[in-house]
Amino acid sequence: MQIYLPIAEVSVNAFLLLGLGGIVGILSGMFGVGGGFLMTPLLFFIGIPPAVAVATEANQIVASSFSGVLAHFRRRTVDIKMGVVLQVGGLIGAALGVVIFNYLKALGQVDLLVKLCYVVFLGIVGSLMFIESLNAIRKAKKAGGTAPAPRRQRGWVHALPFKMRFRTSGLYISVIPPILVGICVGILAAIMGVGGGFIMVPAMIYILGMPTKVVVGTSLFQIILVTGFTTMLHATTNYTVDIVLAVLLLVGGVIGAQIGTRIGVYLKAEQLRILLALMVMAVCGKLALDLLLMPSELFTLGDSGGH
């Protein structure tokens, strides 16, 4: 069934969009990532104009994250206090990111830099997570099936002032690292047009030392506000949020997120991380190939903005 999207001005198959939304929704629920880093490139492939894809994706992430976070709230795996601290950083970062984005746009190389950002960050995050979770699994096997030792994070993170108690995470740390993480993720989110969960999740685990079970829910909680803010920015400045596209994606997405959250409960934390790492590396590899191989069409068309 073809459907015409009023803002994107293209006609696409409605079931294709529902399916894409569903698959990305499952991943979102399982890993606590918004799924933007997968969905945005997929939307480019089916012919949605990039500006519309990025803006609409932000709106769709709000829906799937909200659906996911409700399930986590019920299981009490959301650290609201930590989430709010991260959101404060996230909003500052998003505003900074927009400034940087516009500066790059003026230089005329924004596409390339966005892609390079993807390759570099997905590559680093993916391979670090992959190695770490492999080691964790190996250790768990060596120890004869006993649970892995709780991570000890003693270092610069604990030496900073403004300490705050995060009861749900069982942490007593300074608010500076979470705010810095929030700012970094916010900047990247605005430049790359994603929720930033794929960076947020590892940052919470490895830098802040939060327990994996709490990380997913908290990340979803933080993503809602940042992507909601991004949606409003796009809707009011670029008019590129396509509500019909968003509804189709989010109908698939919210159902998928519910299924994904339930699958996530049955998987071990290490398995969950290794799967996410593999997925992140696959997307990174695809984007790297695009940059390295000779494109079949050397020319690209773009709006000159003079509509």
């Binding site: 073809q2 015409y4 829906a63 005329g108 509500i243 989010l250 000779m294 020319f299 709006d303």
Partner: protein, 254 residues
């Protein structure tokens, strides 16, 4: 008296610059883009009106050109730098139609001369204007060609020869297929009658392509009340997220 009449006719004749005129019909003069819009086919048909007998010599040929609204387009070219493919230069093509379809009654080169093509801007190459192409970029023509190639591959530009049927040098008809990915605007349909490579008559009409119903409503809301449109988008997203969560809980408990 007879001579005077003939003289008057002679004076009047330049006013009727062409002895053959197009009388046109369209199966529809507006295209409504609805939510399930899946492309459209417009039947263009007509007759040649003339007061005199059919001229002998070169046969009458017909060219139909339908074009969408024109916009400037930035074309960028990639080159390999430090191992990766990056955009190295760009050209602003001043005006390129969003949609362009040409249908002819015979092979294009045989029925219209280059000078006439240039004058009326009928072929796709002529319909694209890039006067402002930067001189320092070599092969500026490549950029205009890239616009044509990319849009042809997307089905937006097409030239289909021998698809206009002409009967008795008087009646003609053709069908122009419009893809699903149409942009809004006034589309122009131009009909040219040619003999021996020269345009003897032309006619132009407008096909109105508009979004209607829900599409229209959402589009104008996103432009006129962007803030409320954004809020509505977020409200729908949150409602859908909550709805799915609640529905799944019911399913599990019930």
């Amino acid at each position: 008296m007879r001579y005077l009449f003939a003289f008057l006719m002679f004076l009047a004749s330049p006013l009727f610059a062409s002895e053959e005129e197009v009388v046109l019909g369209l199966s529809q003069d507006r295209v409504a883009i609805t939510a399930n819009f899946d492309g459209s086919e417009i039947l263009i048909f007509g007759a040649v009106k003339r007061e005199t007998p059919i001229p002998t010599g070169d046969p009458l040929e017909v060219i139909v050109a339908v074009s969408g609204p024109s916009h400037p387009v930035t074309v960028r070219r990639k080159e390999k730098k430090l191992g990766i493919w990056v955009n190295v230069d760009s050209v602003l093509v001043d005006s390129a139609p969003s949609f362009y379809a040409v249908a002819t009654s015979a092979p294009y080169g045989e029925i219209i001369s280059d000078t006439e093509d240039l004058r009326y801007r009928i072929s796709i190459e002529r319909a694209i204007r890039s006067v402002g192409a930067a001189m320092h970029i070599r092969e500026a023509q490549d950029f205009a060609e890239a616009v044509m190639r990319i849009r042809e591959n997307n089905g937006l530009y097409s030239i289909r020869e021998n698809t206009v049927a002409v009967d008795q040098q008087t009646l003609f008809r053709t069908a122009i297929k419009m893809p699903a990915d149409l942009t809004e605007g006034d589309y122009s349909a131009r009909i040219f009658l040619t003999r021996g490579g020269n345009v003897v008559s032309s006619y132009e009409t407008v096909i109105d392509v508009r979004k209607v119903g829900l599409e229209r409503f959402l589009y104008s809301m996103s432009r006129n009340q962007p803030f409320w449109y954004g809020i509505m988008s977020l409200a729908i997203a949150i409602a859908a997220g909550w709805g799915a969560s609640a529905a799944f809980r019911l399913l599990r408990n019930g």
